[in-house]
């Protein structure tokens, strides 16, 4: 059942259009990630769904009913949700008072408030900080206060705007664990904006890709990462190899795509003559010194242009008639002695190639 839905949403600031004809719905209990680059409109969309901002045009539906643009009823509906901002602002009060605020505003009794606050502070690991002024906390602790402040309200919908964007990796992991713990415990509907697609993948069931104010694609992580629907989405999800070409043959679901200097084979239904992009994720390419021992359909002789180390991985840029980027482990990079000028075979399976329609612009 859809709990929160936006219909034909348009919004902007001054002459700048931020959201364009946007339609989206999130089901009860669902964890939904809005992914997209900075400036795509994620925060604005989240703010409109959180009833913090009024859209220029369009409707917000909550629990099947249209949300009024002002008044008591809007406040009542807003009180069923809560929002965690990207840069959380704590009030210049004690940690306890910060967390208790929302409950007091809802008219909770002193005893109930105290009990709930104590429990949530324990959950987020801040039980010893009750009387500290919240302004004196570190970034990670501040984010946990912000989260606690929202969670203590037991909202039906929790909106999270880049919950870990400003945190070090350790604090970020803590927050991520908390989010998935809460989602599991309370069946809370969560909508989270993130530019980190792996965070989206890890925490969310379904994702929506927001590009330039439009919802470019929705689906589960695999859909979006493996089968992006257009070039922009493909770029954002890390499809580094995107080659324009034309389908020259379709043999029972295996297409041959001519990319100019080479042909790539892939699993696809596109008919012969279709203009397409052939996309391969860099981690789906293996490198070998000989082409013979693989059952993969695609194997290209390539000359390495540049090898850079990225954490435990090595990023290899090659030229095999077209430019190809592969990610291999550092160990295998060392074993194969990969370096600029060396010649290797770039091998990938037909099932790993995603064929995407190319719209002539």
């Amino acid at each position: 059942m859809t709990l929160i839905e936006v219909v034909d949403l348009n919004h902007g600031y001054g002459a700048r259009e931020v959201l364009k004809d946007l339609n989206m719905g999130v089901g009860k209990g669902e964890v939904f990630a809005l992914i997209g680059p900075t400036g795509a409109g994620k925060t604005t969309l989240l703010r409109i769904m959180g009833l913090l901002e009024l859209p220029r045009a369009g409707e917000v539906y909550f629990d099947g009913k249209s949300v009024p643009r002002s008044g008591r009823q809007r406040l009542e509906l807003r009180r069923r949700m809560s929002f965690v901002h990207q840069k959380p602002q704590v009030f210049n009060l004690s940690v306890y008072d910060n967390v208790a605020c929302g409950l007091r505003w809802r008219g909770e009794s002193k005893n109930t408030t105290a009990g709930k606050v104590e429990r949530i502070l324990e959950t987020v690991g801040l039980e010893g900080y009750k009387n500290r002024n919240a302004r004196t906390l570190s970034g990670g602790e501040t984010q946990r206060v912000a989260l606690a402040r929202s969670l203590v309200l037991e909202p039906e919908v929790l909106l999270l705007d880049e919950p870990t964007a400003n945190l070090d990796p350790v604090s970020a992991t803590k927050i991520e664990h908390l989010i998935s713990y809460i989602a599991g415990q309370h069946n809370t509907t969560m909508i989270m904006a993130t530019h980190d697609m792996f965070q989206g993948q890890q925490l969310a069931g379904r994702m929506g890709m927001l590009l330039d104010g439009r919802l470019a694609q929705t689906g589960n992580a695999t859909d979006i990462f493996r089968s992006p629907q257009n070039e922009q989405v493909a770029h954002f999800v890390g499809m580094e190899n995107i080659m324009p070409g034309v389908v020259t043959a379709n043999n029972e679901g295996i297409v041959t795509v001519n990319t100019g200097r080479n042909t790539v084979e892939a699993v696809s239904d596109w008919p012969t003559g279709k203009e397409v992009y052939a996309c391969i994720r860099p981690e789906d390419i293996t490198l070998a010194l000989s082409s013979s021992r693989s059952s993969a359909r695609n194997s290209f002789w390539a000359k390495i242009g540049l090898v850079t180390t990225v954490g435990p991985l090595a990023r290899v840029e090659m030229d095999c008639g077209f430019r190809l980027v592969a990610l291999v482990t550092r160990t295998s990079s060392e074993e194969l002695d990969l370096r600029a000028g060396r010649e290797v075979y770039a091998i990938f399976k037909a099932t790993r190639v995603h064929i995407m329609e190319r719209k002539s612009s």
């Binding site: 406040l75 602002q89 605020c101 929302g102 505003w105």
Partner: protein, 228 residues
């Protein structure tokens, strides 16, 4: 020179011995100015919130007027209140002229612009995100406004203290509407004027020293607040 020296020592004696005359005048000053300040705060804090949180035409002009009135001469306020409460004036029937009540009203009117203006700027010092956060946690407009006032509490308190300082140290309004009646409407500043005019320096100096001490106390409290 010896006369001045004599006055000074007498002044110190008056203070140290807690002279009943001195105590009476200082007590009345504190009462009148304290009440004026409290009433002004009760009016200005909500009013400042309303002005701060609402967008309306002429808001900037209003702020300018308020800020101009920071420096309104005390005798002008005195004149206004005198006309208002004089027998022939619109509020003359109340018979409040030359009473501590009307002095309180005068001082309250005098410091309202200062309190209002400084409270508005104190509220402006609280970031918009605080209001936003409060709203997102389910605060109503009123609840969010109250929270912002609490966030700005040190700056607001500083504004109130400044208002008190201006009220207790003014003389123009107090003498005009109070009339400087012995045992009824004499306050620190009016007594200093009167006694100095008579050439009776000891009481004037004693009260002057007390006024300075009060200023010092206010200043220390203000400094403490600003360091937060």
């Amino acid at each position: 020179m010896t006369e001045i020296w004599h006055s000074l020592t007498r002044a110190v004696e008056l203070i140290v011995s807690l002279d009943p005359g001195v105590i009476e005048v200082v007590g009345r000053s504190l009462r009148i100015s304290g009440t004026a300040c409290l009433l002004a705060a009760l009016i200005c804090l909500p009013l400042a919130s309303v002005i701060h949180f609402h967008h309306f035409r002429g808001k900037r002009a209003l702020t300018n007027v308020i800020q101009t009135l920071f420096f309104v001469p005390t005798v002008l306020v005195g004149l206004f209140v005198l006309v208002l409460f004089s027998r022939a004036g619109p509020l003359g029937d109340l018979g409040l002229l030359f009473t501590p009540t009307v002095m309180t009203i005068g001082q309250m009117l005098l410091i309202i612009p200062l309190l209002l203006g400084l409270t508005i700027s104190a509220l402006s010092g609280v970031s918009k995100e605080i209001v936003d956060t409060a709203t997102s946690l389910g605060a109503s407009g009123f609840q969010a406004g109250w929270l912002v006032l609490k966030e700005a509490r040190y700056a607001v308190l500083a504004a109130v203290l400044l208002g008190f300082g201006r009220a207790i140290s003014e003389v123009g309004c107090a003498v005009m509407v109070g009339g400087n009646i012995r045992g009824a409407t004499r306050v620190i500043t009016t007594v200093i004027t009167l006694e100095a005019g008579k050439g009776d320096l000891e009481l004037a100096i004693a009260l002057g020293v007390i006024l300075l001490l009060l200023a010092l106390i206010i200043n220390i409290v203000l400094n403490r607040l600003q360091q937060r």
